[in-house]
């Protein structure tokens, strides 16, 4: 079964929000909204939406919709979420600017249900990640980047886009670990995992076969960092 797609709307007009929420819910999407930028960013963190729809003119006290897109696209956590700008203006300059800032689509107000749904559907399909059916697949091989955020003599913590189960054997390639002399080490995930942001997790990984010289270097790093 495919999971429900969630759309987050930022607009200061509750009538337009009600309209879009109704249109999206009628076809089975999860629709959420914010009327100010602070609440919008808060909801991105909690909901983890698949698509963002942002109005251009956001009213007094709010950032302009283009600035919101600019900030989103600068943030590594949010830059890959497809983003639409909606506006009553059709100025070529606005459309060009929105595209340059990273908006995937520009939709003109008044909104047309068929155009809106067609663009949403298309965008969600393009950005859809592959679905792996675990009932059919017992082993999954995958590769991703991560950041070592903590290291000890027996374990390290890595921040990355995958939440691992306990006991998963990993192959870690890192110039930093090579420098410490960890080439022969074996890595296996511990039960510790923590969600630190939308699609971002910290996993603790046990290190086996750490040589005394490597352990000494790690102790040295820790001592240097503390001082």
């Amino acid at each position: 079964m495919k999971s429900k797609k969630h759309i987050l709307i930022l607009d200061d007009d509750l009538d337009i929000i009600n309209f879009m929420v109704k249109v999206f819910e009628n076809v089975g999407y999860g629709a959420h909204y914010a009327t100010d930028t602070d609440n919008f960013f808060e909801q991105i963190k909690t909901i983890g939406p698949h698509l963002l729809i942002i109005d251009h003119k956001l009213g007094h006290g709010n950032q302009d919709g283009l600035h919101v897109i600019q900030n989103l696209k600068k943030d590594p956590h949010y830059k890959n979420i497809p983003t639409f700008l909606i506006s009553a203006s059709t100025s070529r300059q606005l459309v060009t600017l929105a595209t340059q800032l990273g908006a995937e689509e520009f939709i003109k107000k008044p909104l047309q249900v068929n155009v809106l749904l067609q663009k949403v559907k298309k965008s969600l399909k393009v950005y859809e990640l592959p679905t792996i059916e675990f009932s059919e697949t017992k082993k999954v091989k995958c590769r991703s980047e991560g950041e070592i955020i903590q290291i000890g003599e027996a374990a390290l913590k890595i921040k990355g886009p995958i939440k691992f189960c306990e006991g998963v054997e990993l192959l870690i390639r890192s110039p930093c670990l090579d420098k410490l002399g960890c080439q022969a080490c074996r890595y296996k995930t511990n039960p510790y995992q923590r969600v630190v942001g939308p699609g971002e997790y910290v996993n603790e990984i046990a290190m086996k076969g750490v040589k005394e010289e490597t352990a000494r270097k790690i102790r040295l790093i820790k001592a240097t960092t503390k001082s």
Partner: protein, 100 residues
């Protein structure tokens, strides 16, 4: 008797039409107040939203009134502002919604 303005709306939107129309009544009441104080910027803000939302719901003519009112506010054309506000009031007074 003046002719009713009949607008046919998609029945998928039936549930949200009452609140939309209720908000237009609130708009008109605010506009009346802003006209008295010549607060064109607040009227412009109402008109801007109307231009974007009314047509989306299917009230195309009302959306056009909103767009014209917004433009009149931007150019400080007081006579046109008053005229479009009257058109807004007239539209709402004679509106009859049907669903299909």
């Amino acid at each position: 008797m003046p002719q009713a303005i009949i607008v046919t709306i998609d029945s998928d939107l039936q549930e949200i039409i009452p609140s939309f129309l209720e908000n237009r009544k609130k708009d008109l009441s605010k506009i009346e107040e802003y006209l008295q104080t010549s607060n064109w910027s607040h009227i412009e803000s109402i008109a801007h939203k109307l231009a974007g939302n009314a047509g989306s719901y299917g009230f195309d003519e009302l959306g056009h009134i909103g767009a014209s009112l917004e433009q009149a506010c931007q150019s400080n054309h007081v006579e046109a502002i008053r005229d479009y506000c009257q058109q807004y009031q007239h539209y709402m007074d004679h509106l009859e919604v049907k669903f299909e």
